[in-house]
Amino acid sequence: MSSQVPSDLLYAKSHEWARIQDGVATVGITDHAQHELTDIVFVELPAKGRHVQVGEACAVVESVKTASDIYSPVAGEVIETNPAVVNDPSLVNSAPYTDGWFFRVRLTSGAPASLLSPTDYVAQIGE
């Protein structure tokens, strides 16, 4: 099954995406990740105001089968979280790049060099 990998986003190896605009990153998990997790039934998000580091576990998604940590792809302060995915976790499955976003971070500096381009992420997931 071929997953969507939008060309305007950056990706973490751990399957989060970041859309960076005006020093703020919107973060979610990729279509590939939601396919792998399937049936997301619970989402736990970081508190607003929390400072997160690149690669820091700061959210949890739970499928029927398991709980998985979500790692921040960027460093900065969490300024907004998405109440819609908390109320309806299936949004992560149905709209991972739009309504299923997780949180927004005001970046301490720019985008980390460790993030992958869409092409590199496609190569990583082998599609």
């Binding site: 099954m1 039934v41 619970f42 949890v60 499928s63 029927v64 089968k65 398991t66 709980a67």
Partner: protein, 381 residues
């Protein structure tokens, strides 16, 4: 190297996601656990259960041998009937839980858990060596490598099973067609040239059938079931749905509810322990526990508010301290809430008791509920 069932390539063709389970490479899901779960509750589903073990026990003393080794009373079984039973050690701890079918007067088939096959066979062989009075002519034939099984489960499974195995049974329970089998009955039908067994049993809480056949026929049976099953909404289902289905109806899973340090009485399975059938291994402890009670008891619980799903290993709290541990837990696809099974002292085991489940350092309210957690909605009269 993980073992593969005769259906390994069928799972790959169907896009099954394969995981390790009990030393086997098995499909956890094909489409999604929730889809497959609901398909079994509403229509039908087919499961690969070839990883489970088959042990044939035969001979004039086979019934007496099994009755001295298992907890349920095997004499209750007429030819063509099966029963749930347990195998215990001297302390009453569970070596395995299993199904025993009486295929003929002196022939029994035991269905063993995948992860316990070697332990069970060694255990029964040592029993065989010790029970001199039942030895003569009693044969143990460990057939797990030569036999396999599939389960066809769900309220519409009866719509396809007669087409799959047409005609009357050859032996076991005598019926004109498979759907005349009653719950726990087993009969033989011909597949190609050989006898295969079909039982009206399962592990989902739904009506359904388990087909036990030589491994060489399994892929044909699977493919033909899927072909005949289209109109009955038959979906291939993985171990993920198998686990959520059994958890909703509180069927134990070895390694979770049961282990060598837990007795059937503690697990709430006293119904399957026959104390009046004569001596059997573990009887002394089980009789004492039945009379005097136990220090831990199995409970079913439901989360009382929105929470992350409970999982095996999560601590159970009551009255401000830890009182037990969850051994199973998931988000129930039928009830859309967190459910689980755990062990607590008897004083916290009554339905209605308020508990808390500790999840990642936070405690969420839960309530002890009657088993099964999920009951089929009753049809209006």
């Amino acid at each position: 190297m993980l073992k593969r069932t005769p259906l390994f390539y069928a799972h790959q063709r169907l896009g099954g996601k394969l995981i390790e389970f009990g030393g086997w490479e098995m499909p956890v899901q094909y489409s999604s656990i929730v889809d497959e779960h609901l398909s079994v509750r509403r229509a039908s589903g087919i499961f690969d259960i070839c990883h489970m073990g088959e042990l044939f026990v035969s001979g004039p003393h086979a019934a007496a041998f099994l009755n001295a080794s298992l907890t349920n009373d095997i004499r209750k079984l007429a030819v063509g009937q099966g029963q749930y039973t347990l195998m215990c050690n001297e302390q009453g701890g569970v070596v395995d839980d299993l199904y025993a079918y009486r295929l003929g007067e002196d022939q029994f088939l035991l269905i063993l858990n995948a992860s316990r096959i070697d332990v069970d066979v060694a255990w029964l062989q040592s029993r065989h060596a010790a029970l001199v009075e039942f030895q003569s002519g009693t044969q143990l034939d460990s057939a797990s490598a030569r036999w396999g099984a599939v389960a066809i489960q769900g309220p519409r499974s009866h719509e396809l099973i007669d087409q799959l195995f047409p005609g009357p049974s050859l032996k076991g329970t005598n019926v004109h067609k498979v759907t005349d089998l009653k719950k726990n009955q087993v009969g033989a039908w011909t597949w190609t040239t050989e006898a295969i067994w079909v039982a009206r049993t399962g592990y989902t809480g739904e009506d359904g059938f388990e087909v036990i056949a030589p491994a060489t026929f399994i892929e044909e049976i699977w493919d033909q079931a899927l072909a005949h099953g289209q109109t009955a909404g038959l979906q291939p289902c993985g171990l993920g749905a198998r686990d959520t289905l059994r958890t909703e109806v509180c069927y134990p899973l070895y390694g979770h509810e049961l282990d060598e340090h837990t007795t059937p009485i503690e697990a709430g399975l006293g119904f399957f322990v026959s104390l009046d059938k004569g001596d059997f291994i573990g009887r002394e402890t089980l009789a004492r526990q039945k009379a005097e009670g136990t220090t831990k008891r199995s409970i079913a619980f439901r989360m009382a508010e929105k929470s992350p799903p409970p999982r095996p290993g999560y601590p159970i709290w009551a009255e401000g301290s830890t009182v037990g541990t969850a051994v199973s837990g998931t988000q129930s696809p039928s009830l859309n809430t967190g459910i689980g099974i755990g062990y607590v002292p008897p004083s916290f085991a009554e339905p209605g008791t308020r508990l808390e489940i500790e999840i990642r350092g936070r405690r969420f309210p839960a309530e002890v509920v009657r088993k099964p957690i999920y009951r089929k909605p009753q049809l209006a009269a």
